[in-house]
């Protein structure tokens, strides 16, 4: 396991703690790991590359 120390806005921390307090997540770590996993799933390099290259095509040759 890798340990990372990060700072994030107070309002996010508050919402995170509420989630844990309400029993939706076991603890902060579980919630953060799950959020990171979802973010990485939706932000794969090959996906972002294909999206940006599609933008180049539209920019050069597209129609509004």
């Amino acid at each position: 396991m890798t340990s990372v120390q990060v700072e994030f806005p107070d309002d996010l921390a508050k919402r995170l703690d509420q989630l844990v307090a309400q029993g939706w997540m076991a603890n902060r770590q579980q919630a953060i790991v799950e959020a990171l996993r979802r973010f990485l799933d939706a932000h794969r390099p090959e996906l972002m590359k294909s999206q940006m290259l599609a933008d180049v095509e539209w920019g050069l040759h597209g129609k509004e």
Partner: protein, 170 residues
């Protein structure tokens, strides 16, 4: 809602923030209107406190509540979209011919899943040559300056490929 005088675009925070960082908000010119949901505008203001709405050509903040389809609700949850992205996509569902602008891969994926037209900051910058707002040389200068002047993150390899394509385009 395509009109003779241009297309409506609905923008997420990223393109507004990134174009403002590049002093290029005028590249929104040529669209009928640039609609920014209230949630998105709040995010823009957090990141660019000095920005004014009138700097966005035909910029409009949408305050009206908009319904959300069940499909969008599920997509938004599964892709963990933020409040601004959700608000922008709700607006897009009401304006099927509009163009959605976002630099977030997940929001873009959601839009594509709903068959919505979607582009990002790179597309807007490069479009400026096609619609004669900038010369090709000026756009190449903007693209080269992205790593220094913008928080739009593009890998060095991809940026090189983008610049090559713009340089060699007919």
């Amino acid at each position: 809602m395509e009109r003779n005088e241009g297309v409506i675009v609905v923008s997420d925070a990223g393109p507004v923030i990134h174009l403002d960082e590049l002093d290029c908000l005028d590249l929104f010119r040529g669209f009928h209107s640039v609609v920014v949901p209230r949630e998105v505008w709040a995010e823009v203001l957090r990141n660019r406190p000095g920005i004014i709405l009138s700097a966005i050509p035909n910029g409009v903040v949408n305050d009206a509540p908009v319904d959300c389809s069940p499909q969008l609700a599920v997509l938004s949850d599964s892709l963990a979209l933020d409040a601004g992205e959700r608000a922008a996509l709700r607006l897009m569902e009401q304006q099927a011919d509009a163009v959605f602008l976002t630099d977030d891969a997940a929001a873009r994926l959601a839009a594509e899943s709903l068959n919505l037209r979607v582009h990002g900051t790179l597309g807007i910058i490069i479009r400026s040559v096609r619609v004669m707002l900038r010369s090709r040389e000026e756009v190449l200068g903007i693209l080269n300056s992205l790593p220094r002047r913008s928080t739009l993150y593009v890998s060095a390899e991809l940026l090189g490929e983008v610049i090559a394509r713009v340089s060699s385009a007919e």
